[in-house]
Symmetry: C4
Subunit: 223 residues, 4 copies
């Protein structure tokens, strides 16, 4: 019974959560990238961000009540929800879990598993790279001695970090900027793992099919 | 029927497309690396590049007509062709799809799957690295404050980027240079995935064969 | 019989070894990060580190006696113990082998294999990154011309190294600092391998299950 | 018959080739690292290097004659021998193929496949890293504006390159130094592939065994 009520809640919250994610990211982006707007506008943007956060808080609380679990167990089983609640940067990630749930409800997804893994990895990396660039630009461009001075610099730095290239021509120097950087590095490692793992499993699949088609005793490496 | 006409077109365009790719890259290389040539020569080179582009445009249009698909569906199913059409940098990639088609028509390729994956990865990386070095050198060496001043610097930078090493002793500072760099980083990630995936699947193949040969109950890790 | 006495020793030493590991790391951290403490305190901290080392030495000697092996063979089969004895930096690693042994004795571990691999990789990297940052900070911050001047710099540098990003805005210049760095780089490579390998095997598992569920002849790539 | 004569030659050349490899590397190392030796010593060292090269040349010629192949086919099937002949840097690699052949002749090797892959990767990387450091130090430390001034710097740079970290605090600036660097980067990529591939295949092996032991219907991810 709990399950069905949770499912009902999930279904009802899909649109609000997706909208809240998009609103949060858009409001933060405008707030950071257009400091020249009149003060009233910035107040509106901050209010929009607070409202988006409230939607997540309400959703989290209701989900906790519906689960019927103790607080620690809930924290453990819903750690992604918790992290998303605490770190506004990661909120856009919710768009995917919402999208995924909608897709699954409509029946089997069209894309193959490989394509889905690559699409999710690509989109996650794009969203988190954008959010990370915003945060780093926000905290760095006014710091004394900073090398990240424009939003372009921040995006360039985020790309070099996510690809684990790390030129070091521009790099964050403030504590918050560096914390964000560590988060992006972890994303970069995960991205590398996703790319490599997909490639690896795709090759293994090819080989397995290749071997099934051949007569036994014909070794594939000797061809 | 559409299929057979498409195949006929593919077969007919193999040589023109391969030639156009090679001409484009060669003309661009001479244009960028030999600025001291008389003006008339540079006009000829730009004309050659435009002609190569025209061949791709004509091929793309005919392919679209022959497919009988709507524009969006065609974009989705032929995204590589589209990307190659828009970004001249990637045009040399067509050489491989042409080569692949010729090989397949002549019967089963000689190389094993691993060797083919490594050969394609190596050649793609070489071609894109060369094209990327040219573009970055073209746009950087005259920019104020640039660190990439010679074509040698550009090649050195491209190698460090493709291996995801990224020393940062030289790095692009212009928007176009950095965009090219992001493309090369993506290639570097894919290269890493190809190398790692090949190695991984090769080891797994070895283990599988190793286990098949042993009597059951003899665990391979304990030897 | 030797086996049972070894097991008994292992069981008895779990708590002392774990405590000694934690004491060593804590004492070293306070010693390095709080140089302003009165001299007597530092003497206590160094004594605690020596005591922790003595526990490891005693354990190693007893283990050697109980094994009944020659010295070279023991070195070879217990190389991790030997490395941990010689390099104080790696001592915290013992916490895991202790934890692992306790878990195994209590029956089957709760976590799945993937979760365990990721948890071990994450914790090992955190502990070694912390110990590496301490060592590098200890030897670098007073060296002339050093770029790692605060503990925050050292942690930032360790993160960039473990992710194989390597900005190079701060980097060690003393021989001991660089040796530690090489150790952290090896950890970074292993971490990359763990992340990628987990992802890869997880994907392969998904595919295998996916194929088992489908009717034969339905290729998964063509969907 | 050719095969048996080739085998005989291989067996006879094991010791001379291994010795020549070691002599070459040692002579080069002393030549580069001890420039203060009297001139006569350096003449002896260069003679030793020339003699080692002569051994490789003779071996290559005899192997070509015994193979009975045309020059191009021989080049293709013995490309590693050819590369080793042309690039003195890579000569130490021959030690492994010699070691491998000796091991195989004595019967089944003791180490498991994983251990062998890791041992070969580790030893290859160590040897090539040492040879690369020597070459880079040799050509860089007298170049104007160089940042690699001591052999320690060269080793530090080689480690950062092989781990694909690439701080960029020291980096080669001469053409030969950069060519060597590109070779080391390729080694770094291969090392990454070996580490990741081993880890990946090891995990997959563990999972396969894990699944075989469980009753069917018990999914491993849900435990």
């Amino acid at each position: 019974m709990n399950d069905s009520r949770q499912e009902l809640w999930d279904r009802r919250m899909d649109l609000p959560l997706g909208t809240a994610s998009a609103v949060y990211l858009a409001a933060y982006a405008v707030h950071v990238l257009a400091p020249g707007l009149p003060h009233a506008w910035h107040t509106v943007l901050l209010a929009a961000m607070a409202a988006a956060w409230a939607v997540f808080l309400v959703d989290y609380t209701v989900r906790y009540r519906l689960s019927g679990l103790g607080p620690w167990r809930f924290l453990r089983t819903h750690w992604l929800d918790t992290v998303v609640l605490v770190l506004p940067l990661l909120r856009p990630l919710r768009i995917f879990s919402v999208y995924d749930r909608i897709q699954r409800r409509r029946g089997r997804p069209r894309l193959s598993l490989h394509a889905r893994v690559m699409a999710y990895a690509g989109l996650t990396v794009t969203l988190l790279g954008f959010a990370g660039s915003l945060t780093v630009y926000h905290h760095e461009h006014t710091a004394p001695g900073a090398s990240i001075l424009t939003f372009g610099d921040a995006v360039w730095w985020a790309c070099a970090t996510l690809a684990t290239v790390g030129y070091g021509d521009v790099s964050p120097i403030t504590p918050i900027g560096r914390l964000t950087a560590v988060g992006l590095m972890a994303c970069g490692l995960a991205l590398l793992g996703a790319v490599t793992g997909s490639f690896s499993s795709w090759l293994i699949q090819l080989f397995t099919r290749d071997e099934d088609k051949r007569p036994p005793g014909d070794s594939p490496g000797a061809s």
